[in-house]
Symmetry: D3
């Protein structure tokens, strides 16, 4: 199994909250895409490399409906070229007054094996997209065609999405809390650290459910609890 | 079957996204009521003529709880006079800090055969309204009585709702993406065009699910695909 | 049964909308916490005395991850000291860009018998918190650790939450519409009045479902309907 | 001198802050038009009866540039019919992305003897309007023609302006703090009370400048200071 | 005189309001950069070709203070390469919480002969920049260094600025109302049409100041007034 | 001269922009109070220790106008107890819909020798406060009395102001860009470093005005320029 696939496999087992804390410790405090949510909560965790699409405001003369007849229209290019396993991340300037994309393009992405899609704007045909076998994240549903307010201007450049910098090949992770952006060079390190934290947090939750106070337990400062955890870990780490 | 009923029947089969694109082509780019959502997604598409209610900010001396004892209080007038089959659209100035209405009025509207209700503010008793057999759209739930911030000032005037102009008798269509406003004189034309587009999009989605690229297909610029569509249409248009 | 428990028992049967109208009549028009919603709708009504936690913006040097090792860190103090049956209300300055708390602390609160928690920011691990057997309210999910933007600075002081003043021991009531704050000295009076209104509204809804106009009925100004209600009340008040 | 002219004369001598406190005491807490400011501070206080203009969002087909050729276009009607001495108050739905009016209409209003104009949107040609011999208030300058986003739909109806209800003939008062709306029936009473408060505040400021503590002085609870004030008033009230 | 210089010369005589109306007639309704204002009003009209700089959110590890030691840091590249006579337009994602630039870079731009600068964020050292002999436009002053929130990522790409598309070489015009963006290919046509409108508006203002109604005059629909204007134009057009 | 006075003396000579960069280097990136501005630009730099006042939302029954008769009302306590030379910083929850204070209290603060005042809300009587011989900062003018929306709840606690943590005795510095908060323990170190940077920036501006490129100069990476600066510093540092 390749290294990236391995990292992705690990990240599928951890939460965006855990990743956020891990990156916080490394001095990266602004990697959570603000104000986006899953179109349908409860799907498996979305993980993949970022492939980006940048929109600027639509100028009316450049954005009649006919532009879509151009097979090289950048929105369609993005949909056809986003790599299998990647996540399409769209910079919609946090403007959900018109759609970033709709169900036909989303279906095409799904069929092509794309891991998910994220916009800091909105998607149209949101009920259909929600039901696809691919996770998607946006700010809110939006019926108007993207030409109303957005012009696709560049593919796979560094972009802003929800007040976060997204560079191509950063690792994008999404769950019900929202979407985190992990800088490419840190992804494997973060994945490993987060697996460990996730294991510890499973122990903590179990202890808390059993009536334990969080003092000394979370964070772990009590040596006796440390020992208990080591024992518990021996029994549980294989299964995670 | 009357003409309006016919138009409404067609619009029940199309999506707000399709209507938005259709109106975009006609130069109408601002007909999507911004920032409203269904209280309960997944209901049948809401379609009906607009019947409007306009609120202004409540002045304390004019809005004690006693005003509701007046049988001609305009909020209640709107609820009793909104025609069967129409949609009550409320201009709440995008202010959801107090309710636009609650479950008793909503139930009365439903019993009277009203097709749905929309506010760019919020409804109270939102769980009860969500469960009614009538679709409703708002920005977010809001417990305070409407007198807290809203005074009903006029019935069936042209209003603003969610940054869109709504004229009485415009056709209002709502689905899970939100709510579109179709100018009355365009409604039948839009309904017909949207039925056609909807048929085509069903074909496109099927093709995409089968692995077809969107290039040449959406929009349809490839002559061979055009032929396929014509054949498909022969088989499928009756059923739609 | 103690007086507070009695009041709480009554308030569990009434809605935030009813409470809002009751307080409106008493001149209190700003007791609805704005812009918060339940992590999972449909839970039983949350009722309890307010126990507060105040955050200020995090200064980086005062908020490294190590601060949590301090067993007297105020966030943890709040979680361990919030009384059984109380509601933890957090002043997060309406800033949901980082979490107010996560699932471990929420689980600890639940295990300790706390009645619920409210923040005008966001919770992380929101899917887990939603599934707890304790209601929680926030603005939106937020993965980043609270240290990113929040420093716990005081426990059980008067605070602002969602533009509402919350004093320790005020009674907090939450349902699907959101959260109301009842001043402590009014709680029993409000509970009693709301029980009466709730009974009346059940009657009204039944009448409206049977096709009755709201004029004369809601509010009740028609003497004949008044009589019907008295009769109905005789039959129904025991069961409520 | 007529009664209205007399009231207006008094109100020219008092501040919007004093009026706000006076109305607060009468239970009117929401009469300050939010988020508007003078185009040029330092002009004499603006006072006049409200004459209103209501905008709704512009629908493209109804708002080509040609509509202005209609001499009954409501924006122009408002400008030609706003009475001498009145204040034109425009409901622009707090949307300053396009202008509410420009310098030609403003100049016409000035020449016609109008006392001022207020929008909760923006004016274009703002430098020219600022230099007119008539006060104007808006949110911010905005170059686009009003047809871009606004359609004049009604003249002299009750409106919302900056989250305040404005009824025709309410008295509008503007100074550097912004704009207050006094309900018509209270105007003379408010004018008289404010003149008294203004006199008292002049005394207080003088005392404070002389080193007096505000305790006992503001509000006046110290009997000795009360006497001083009575003496001071005898000397100063004529001149005010 | 070159063609561009000629166009620029004409545009210096017209207002952004006039340009906005001219572009509105051509179907371009979104060319006004929203929410920016001059640091010092009253300067001569700013006109020049757009030279753009694009920021994305700053990631902490990529933006320590040391990055400025790199002579190819893109912010400095933009400042050194922005052509004489051009306007530097910065896409700061409407985020003024940190500065887009400060007085040293602004002074360098001025010395290099740049015509002005615009950001939809904020400038630091705003008092010094205001006093330079070069116009600048921003949302509000902001002391923090741009590295706090912004990373310069590209020079002279198409960008968004204040919700408007800005393409390199578009013509930027700024006065006290704010900033308009004229598509490059329309600039000379717009300049000529605006000169004509400006002349007409000077006539209108004069007429209005003389007591003329706007009906028939603005827009000009009265044949007699048309003649007067022709005569007036003969006398005044040379001097404009 | 005492140590604090010495630090304050130095800080009066430096800008908020310079302080922001200095704190950025130390890892403090969020010390600029967002969205406040001077009531009158161009006053000398405001410097002083923070003395804080915290507001929560006003509950109507606790905030009738009579509360001011209580000499221990906390707003008045703050005004009478804020130390000479300190800056009164008010947490108004970024809500400028009602005033944080007015000209009488401001005048009292000035007479008492207070160095300035800051609110993240608004002041009333803003023209009078602007003209005082004491700098003040707010979001925007606001006529309504503070009781409308604010209740003073605590004096000299740690607070939030404009999204920044302010601890009593932090050093507050304000100029035309806005207001910086320097943690108390860093104040003298920051003052010294900023004096040095200020001297260097004066050299840079002079060089840039003389036509020098910023490359190698700002930041200083060119050894020859380093030498020039050393020489220049010898000549200029005394006078600064």
């Amino acid at each position: 199994m390749g290294e990236l696939a391995d990292t992705i496999g690990k990240l599928k087992k951890v939460s965006t909250a855990t990743i956020a804390t891990c990156l916080f410790k490394k001095g990266l405090k602004n990697q959570f895409i603000q104000e986006v949510k899953p179109l349908k909560p409860g799907k498996p965790t979305m993980v993949g490399e970022a492939f980006t699409l940048r929109y600027i405001p639509a100028r009316e003369d450049l954005n009649p409906i006919e532009v879509f007849k151009n097979p090289r229209h950048l929105q369609r290019v993005a949909v056809e070229e986003c790599p299998k396993g990647a996540v399409l991340v769209i910079d919609s300037r946090k403007d959900a007054r018109a759609a970033s994309a709709g169900s036909i393009l989303a279906t095409r992405l799904m069929v092509r094996g794309v891991a998910g899609m994220v916009t800091d704007g909105g998607f149209r045909d949101s009920a259909e997209i929600a039901d696809l076998d691919m996770p998607s994240y946006h700010h809110r549903p939006s019926a108007p065609t993207n030409l109303t307010l957005h012009q696709a201007i560049a593919v796979n450049e560094p972009i802003a999405c929800g007040d976060v910098a997204v560079f191509p090949e950063d690792i994008i992770v999404g769950d019900d809390d929202g979407v985190m952006v992990i800088p490419a060079h840190l992804a494997d390190e973060v994945a490993n650290e987060c697996l460990d934290i996730t294991l510890f947090e499973a122990f903590v939750i179990q202890q808390v459910q059993n009536g334990k106070s969080i003092v000394g337990l979370y964070p772990l400062t009590d040596a006796a609890v440390q020992k208990e955890f080591e024992a518990w870990k021996g029994q549980n780490s294989k299964s995670s």
